[in-house]
Symmetry: C2
Subunit: 456 residues, 2 copies
């Protein structure tokens, strides 16, 4: 078969380009070695947010001393059902647009030819253009190698047949804290061990501290500046010895220390596609690799490993390939979202980043507990932070730490991209009893006369 475009990987880096190009009338093949939808749909965002939504409901019931009774197996079955429905939604979308879906491992033979191998057969297709969207795999570390049952990644953690009593999470990044939040709500005794100074090391300390306080109140133990020195399995338990001398005995060890790009064994070497020092594929703003006609998108090109970043890159590749004007993706505009009850959503720069670049800035910070919506949903340490440039003009960073922050940040984004200014925001009747209405109050606060807040 001959295609205009062959896309390797059906995850959020791959299928949007497939959908776009097929919609434009191009003949498109999407090759998937495992499950349609990739990591996000099957082992990431979707099952994790399903468990998250349930976890938050459990915490709400408990807030008034209630008890939520449910079967673990029904919870996992429900999450699986949501994942299946999401996966089938993507298949239906692609098939409706006329995309050919291939199940198998892709081996790139040249920039025009791809072999697809699965247990049943070996096929070969031709394509004018290739998009490599093979994503990343969870990474482990020497002291804790995945064993498929007890030392696990997100992939197993989201589908555990039985609820563990205790869990050690190695790594206090986004995956680590999100799953700590979820499992602690399910009464799993969770300990996070983080190598660096504080959990969520990529962000500012005040944000990390708010999340740490929140998780600690939910019963998560967080040990920072610490590593796991030894890890052994004995009588069905994992025995960990930490660098601070402490010993832990747990049922499961979740390793969430980062991810590694899937660039091996797919024939990239046949094309001479350049990789960066960490093995991610190097691409231009147009998502083109160093090899003409070969594009790469999503996690496999590095940057923030977030679904919405992958989707935008995939759309850009689609537009470039179909010869249309393609937007340039501002990677600082990609919101970093952390779903931890007290959620975090950030666009733009952190203070840490600005300081490391030697840039001066003005910081405004308001507590958000004044909002009745936050009183209801919980979050005494909720806050929002807006960072302006030295002259108080351009918005350099927006950080929201509050329930529902993942939705709320989208209302703040027009400030960051310069489509709205503070005065505009101060005049909008954002709906009451939401967290979004903080935007009007925050704008008033910076401008000088907030009606719901005291001035600095």
């Amino acid at each position: 078969m001959k295609y205009d475009v062959a896309i390797i990987g059906s995850g959020v880096g791959g299928y949007p380009a497939g959908s776009y190009l097929a919609g434009k009338g191009l003949k498109v093949a999407v090759i998937e070695k495992h499950l349609i939808g990739g990591e996000c749909t099957n082992y990431g965002c979707v099952p994790s947010k399903a468990l998250y939504q349930f976890a938050e409901a459990v915490k709400t019931i408990e807030k008034i001393n209630g008890v939520a009774e449910y079967k673990w197996s029904e919870l996992i079955e429900w999450a699986k059902g949501v994942v299946k429905e999401s996966r089938e939604g993507i298949s239906y979308l692609l098939e409706s647009k006329g995309v050919d879906l291939y199940n198998g491992v892709a081996l790139i033979e040249s920039n025009k030819r791809v072999k697809i191998k699965n247990s049943a057969e070996l096929k070969e297709i031709e394509a004018d253009k290739l998009i490599v969207a093979t994503g990343t795999d969870p990474g482990d570390i020497p002291v804790a190698r995945f064993d498929g049952s007890g030392i696990i990644s997100n992939r197993e953690a989201l589908y555990l047949d039985d609820k563990p009593e205790s869990m050690l999470i190695i790594g206090g990044g986004v995956v680590g804290v999100e799953l700590a939040n979820v499992f602690s709500a399910f009464k799993v005794d969770v300990t996070i061990v983080e190598l660096l100074d504080h959990i969520l090391p990529f962000t500012d300390r005040d944000i990390a501290l708010a999340v740490k306080t929140h998780l600690s109140q939910r019963g998560v133990r967080i040990i920072e500046k610490t590593t796991v020195g030894r890890l052994e399995k004995a009588s069905g338990k994992y025995h960990a010895e930490l660098s601070n001398g402490e010993k832990l005995e747990v049922d499961k060890v979740l390793v969430a220390v980062g991810r590694k790009p899937n660039t091996r064994g797919i024939g990239l070497e046949n094309l001479g596609v350049e990789l960066d020092s960490k093995g991610f594929i190097k691409v231009s703003e147009r998502m083109e690799t160093s090899t003409q006609g070969v594009f790469a998108t999503g996690d496999v090109v590095g940057g923030p490993l977030l679904a919405h970043k992958a989707i935008l890159e995939s759309i850009i590749a689609g537009r470039v390939i179909s010869g249309e004007e393609a937007p340039r993706l501002d990677y600082k505009l990609v919101p970093i979202t952390i779903f931890t009850g007290l959620e975090v959503a950030s666009v733009g720069y952190t203070e840490k980043e600005l300081q490391s670049m030697g840039l001066k800035y003005v910081k405004y910070r308001i507590p958000l507990y004044y909002l009745s919506s936050v009183k209801i949903k919980g979050g005494k340490n909720a806050f929002a932070k807006i960072i302006l440039d030295e002259r108080g003009g351009r918005v350099l960073g927006i950080h929201i730490v509050a329930p529902n922050a993942s939705e709320v940040v989208s209302a703040y984004i027009p400030l960051y991209i310069g489509k709205m200014n503070l005065k505009d925001a101060a005049q909008v009747p954002y709906p009451h009893l939401t967290v979004s209405e903080s935007l009007r109050d925050f704008a008033e606060y910076i401008l000088g006369e907030p009606v719901h807040l005291l001035k600095k």
Copy 2:
């Protein structure tokens, strides 16, 4: 005592102006006859959304055949606690800014003089300017007069000592459907009787139908084009006879048919302040009444009886009084929000309104169940609708029917106010696994090549 400004009513129509003006250094009195914060804080948004948040958590637990066990008394106590904290937050804010709070009934003697009477004493204050923000009271109807125990308004319904087994709600407007949603989650057998063609009669039929379907699935019975002909109390129950001949026996009857302005008994007649035909105070864009120096804000001036509309009006009055530039409030920009699990949030015009004005328009409508966030939170009949003018240029209306719509609409608002266009929205990496990301997809859909949706 002599003040620059005296404000009658400490609700969302009153206190923001008080906060603003005191912040500007004016001497301000706020007079409250009942509880600081008024209807919204004490009997409206705050307790209602507290119960709502809990109700949604109960439904989430039940989604996987779980059971939420809790004590009704603890639920009500918790809601009372949230209300108390909100109320105290407003008092603290006003007192910190130096506002004098008076507890008592205000009687306006002239546009410069107000008497304040409470059980303990009678005071008199002078003020250069007055703001009347006395709000509204729930209205009843001849067949169902409030009796303080069984035939009730929102005020009693949100604080019931015991959970009723059954409830008749007269009126399928916002209050009626929101409380039907909440009480049905608490296993109260709820029937809504609506006089007009469909519940939520002010909005489009497709929106009302989605909410109706959702509520019906939750067990609420909805009877439209029907009235209550007779209502009698016998042996502790209320017996209702409907215009369709049906008979109902219920524990409680919630009358939610509308609200009446509090313009009597406060001395407005002494000033000659003009009222409209429904008794609401007539005001200019600057929130001035027909009497010089006398302003009115919030529910008492009519229009959409929504907290965020009242807040903006209050800020406008504050700015006008302090001699500053004041924004003009576009009343069509005031989002109408309905918190019913499957929430509704609308800005701009409905189709119904445009049709009645004889205006042509182009309508776009996308189902939102394609979003994994909606699959997780529930809402098979979720959708979004954007209405453009005839030439497809200006956004005339935005209607979101989905979980979290009340937050999501704030991300869509820049489209309505013309600060962002569809192309801008199509290029923003709105975060994944939210409902807000529908904005990018919807923009792409209208522009022609949606990657997550099929084209029309």
